[in-house]
C-alpha cells in the first residue's frame, strides 16, 4: 500500500503533531514510503514549522525511522538535511577496485574527482594501496583537494589469491559471502556514492548512488545490485545497448570518456606512418599480429603505393607477455624493416607518434563474437583523431560512434575492406589531408573540457533535484 503523500505534505505545513503521527505510522504500518519521500517531507516540515516544535519531535522521528527502516535510513535522513539546508558541502565517494592500475575507466573516475573537488568533498575509495600522487601523474590531473581511502577486502587478501587483482569473477555466489560488503558499508558515509569500477556486487547505501558502466561484463548473479542505484551512467551508446540486453536495465546518462591528446597546434607535419596504439593484450585481443600480416601483404601486393610507408605499433605490456613474445619472434623471422614495435613508451613519445602518423589502424573486435572483446568506446581512436590521424578502424563497438565512415575516417568489417580503404587514402593525398582535418575536428568533441562541463552540469542537476524538497 502506498503512503498518502498529499496528506503528509498538508500535515507537514500545518501541524507538527499530526505530521509526526502520520509519518511515524507510515513507518510502522510498513507502507511503501520511499527514502526520498521521507527525506523531502521532513525537510518540508522543518521549513514550515517553528523550530521549537520541530526540535521536540525530530529526535523521536529519527529514532522511529532507525527502528523501523534501519539505522542507515535515519543516518541518510540526517545527512540529507545537512546538505539540503546547506550546513556542509555534499560528500562524494568514488569507488574503483582498480584505482591502483592505470586504465581508461580509472582515468574517467579520477577526472570526475578533479571536476567535483571544488564544490564537493571528494574521497576516492580503493581496495589496494595507491597514492593520490600516482593518479595525478598517470592522468595529468590535479587532485589536491581530494582524499583517498583504502578499504581492504579480506576475501581478496587471502593467501593464494593474486596480490594485486580484485576479480569479482572469483566469487562463488552460491558458496561465498558477498566480499564487497565493506565497500557497501563505506558507501553509506557519502551523500553521493559513485561506483566507477562496474562492480555490480556493491550494494549502495548513500542517498544518491551512481553506477558508471564502461561495459556490463558479467551476467546477473545473486549479488547483483545495479538496479538499486539511483542512476546508471554509460560511456557509449554501444555500452548502453548491452546494459539493456544483458541486464534489462535502462541507463540514464551518457558521458563519453575524456580524451586529452590534442596537439599544441594544428595542422601538423605528417610522415608516411600507419600507427596502431593499443595494449599488447596477453590473449591477443587487440590483434597486432594480424595487423602486421595485413601490412606485409599490402607491401607485397602494392610495392609502388606502399614505398616509404611504415607500420608503428605502440602499446603497454606487462613484463612477461607471451603474445608480445610471439610478435617479436614473428618480426625476427620475417625480417620486417618497415615495422616498428614500441612497448611501454613514455607519454611524450606516444604524443610524438600520434603527431607524425598519417593513418591510424585499429583491429580490436574484428572476428570477435564476445561483445566484451569489442572496443566499448575506443579511446585511442579518439586520441589519434585529435592529432589528425585518419582512422581506419573496425566497424563495431563504440568506434562507430567516433568515426563517421567516409567523412572523418573509415570503418571496415573485413581485411579486404581495410586494405581497399587504406590504399584509397594512399593514392589520394588530397583526400587524406582533407579527412585529417575532419578527424581533428571530430576528435575535439571528446576533449577533457567537454567531459568536465558535462560532469559539472550533471552533478549540479543531481544536487538540485535530489537534495531539495
Amino acid at each position: 500500500m502506498m503512503v498518502d503523500e498529499p496528506r503528509l505534505r498538508r500535515a507537514a505545513d500545518k501541524s507538527t503533531r499530526q505530521f509526526s503521527r502520520l509519518i511515524r505510522r507510515s513507518f510502522e504500518e510498513r507502507k511503501k514510503v520511499s527514502r526520498d519521500t521521507v527525506n523531502s517531507l521532513v525537510l518540508r516540515w522543518l521549513a514550515s514549522r517553528p523550530a521549537a516544535e520541530t526540535s521536540r519531535h525530530l529526535p523521536r522521528l529519527v529514532d522511529d525511522l532507525a527502528r523501523r527502516k534501519g539505522i542507515q535510513s535515519a543516518w541518510n535522513l540526517l545527512s540529507f538535511l545537512e546538505v539540503a539546508l546547506r550546513l556542509r558541502r555534499p560528500r562524494v565517494g568514488i569507488y574503483d577496485h582498480a584505482f591502483h592500475y592505470i586504465g581508461g575507466a580509472q582515468k574517467y573516475g579520477s577526472t570526475i574527482a578533479q571536476t567535483l573537488q571544488d564544490d564537493f568533498e571528494v574521497t576516492l575509495l580503493a581496495n589496494k594501496p595507491v597514492a593520490l600522487a600516482d593518479l595525478q601523474s598517470w592522468y595529468g590531473l590535479d587532485l589536491s583537494r581530494c582524499r583517498l581511502k583504502v578499504v581492504p577486502l579480506p576475501f581478496f587478501e587471502e593467501k593464494g589469491r593474486h596480490p594485486q587483482i580484485v576479480d569479482a569473477g572469483e566469487v562463488d555466489t552460491c558458496r561465498d559471502e558477498n566480499p564487497f560488503h565493506p565497500v557497501s558499508r563505506e558507501s553509506g558515509n557519502f551523500d553521493i556514492f559513485i561506483n566507477n569500477g562496474m562492480l555490480e556486487m556493491v550494494y549502495p547505501l548513500a542517498n544518491t548512488s551512481l553506477f558508471i558502466c564502461h561495459f556490463p561484463e558479467r551476467k546477473k548473479s545473486r549479488y547483483f545490485y545495479v538496479h538499486r542505484y539511483t542512476q546508471i551512467v554509460h560511456n557509449s551508446v554501444y555500452t548502453a545497448s548491452w546494459i539493456e540486453k544483458r541486464w534489462n536495465l535502462t541507463p540514464h546518462k551518457h558521458i563519453y570518456p575524456p580524451v586529452d591528446m590534442e596537439p599544441a597546434a594544428f595542422p601538423l607535419k605528417k610522415e608516411n606512418i600507419i600507427l596502431s596504439v593499443s595494449r599488447f593484450d596477453e590473449g591477443g585481443n587487440k590483434q597486432q599480429l594480424d595487423m602486421i600480416r595485413v601490412f606485409q601483404d599490402l607491401v607485397r601486393s602494392q610495392p609502388r603505393e606502399m614505398a616509404g610507408w611504415k607500420l608503428v605499433l605502440v602499446g603497454g605490456s606487462p613484463r612477461h607477455n607471451p603474445y608480445l613474445e610471439r610478435i617479436r619472434a614473428y618480426l625476427q623471422r620475417s625480417a620486417a624493416e618497415a615495422i616498428e614495435l614500441k612497448v611501454n613508451v613514455p607519454a611524450s613519445e606516444l604524443k610524438s607518434e600520434y603527431e607524425r602518423a598519417k593513418i591510424f589502424w585499429h583491429f580490436c573486435g574484428l572476428g570477435q563474437t564476445d561483445p566484451a572483446k569489442v572496443e566499448h568506446f575506443g579511446m585511442t581512436v579518439a586520441e589519434a583523431m585529435q592529432n589528425g590521424c585518419v582512422p581506419v578502424v573496425f566497424r563495431g563497438g563504440g568506434q562507430t560512434e567516433i568515426v563517421e565512415d567516409g567523412l572523418s575516417g573509415f570503418l571496415f568489417s573485413s581485411e579486404k575492406e581495410l586494405t581497399d580503404k587504406t590504399l584509397g587514402l594512399l593514392e589520394n593525398p588530397g583526400r587524406l589531408e582533407e579527412m585529417s582535418g575532419r578527424a581533428h575536428e571530430s576528435g575535439r568533441e571528446f576533449r577533457r573540457e567537454v567531459f568536465t562541463d558535462k560532469v559539472r552540469d550533471y552533478f549540479q542537476g543531481l544536487l538540485a533535484s535530489r537534495f531539495s524538497e
Binding site: 521549513a47 527502516k69 539505522i71 542507515q72 555466489t173 560488503h181 551476467k219 546477473k220 547483483f224
Partner: protein
C-alpha cells in the same frame, strides 16, 4: 529557514548519538532494516536452487504465527505502562486471535510442505533429465 543554528546543533547531536550504534552494527541487512533480496530473473540454475532453499528455510522458520513476539518499548518513562497495557490487551484478545491464527498456522504448514515436495520433485525430474541426456539408464522405480 528559522533558527538554522538550532536545527544544525540538533542534527549534530542526534548524529553523534547514532554514529556509535551504526558502527556497532556489523550485518548489512540489520543496518538497512531489511533482507537484501536477489532478483531471481537471470540467475543461474545453481543460484536459483540456493535462493529456493534460502526462502524455504525462512518460510519454515516463520510458519508458526502463534509464537508471540516479546512486547517492548523504547520509551524511558512511559514504556513500562505501555508494555503493561499491551500485555493485558494481548491476553484479553488471545482466545479470539488464537482461533484465527490456528487456521493460519495449519495453512502455513501445508504450504511449506507443498513447497518442499515441489523442490524435491523438481530435483528428481532434473536428475532424470540429466540421466536421459547422458544416456545413463534409470530404473522404473527411480522414475516413479
Amino acid at each position: 529557514m528559522k533558527n538554522i543554528q538550532q536545527i544544525e546543533s540538533q542534527i549534530q547531536k542526534i548524529k553523534t548519538a547514532l554514529a556509535d550504534e551504526r558502527e556497532s552494527v556489523e550485518d548489512l541487512e540489520t543496518l538497512i532494516g531489511q533482507r537484501i533480496e536477489a532478483e531471481l530473473w537471470g540467475l543461474s540454475k545453481k543460484e536459483l536452487e540456493k535462493e529456493a532453499w534460502d526462502s524455504f528455510y525462512i518460510l519454515e522458520k516463520n510458519k508458526d504465527c502463534l509464537e508471540e513476539e516479546p512486547i517492548v518499548s523504547h520509551r524511558k518513562l512511559s514504556g513500562a505502562v505501555i508494555v503493561l497495557y499491551k500485555r493485558v490487551l494481548r491476553a484479553l484478545l488471545r482466545p479470539y486471535t488464537k482461533t484465527i491464527l490456528a487456521r493460519q498456522v495449519r495453512f502455513n504448514r501445508e504450504l511449506v510442505r507443498l513447497h518442499l515436495a515441489n523442490i524435491l520433485r523438481l530435483e528428481k525430474i532434473e536428475e532424470r533429465v540429466v540421466a536421459l541426456e547422458t544416456g545413463t539408464p534409470t530404473s522404473r522405480a527411480e522414475q516413479g
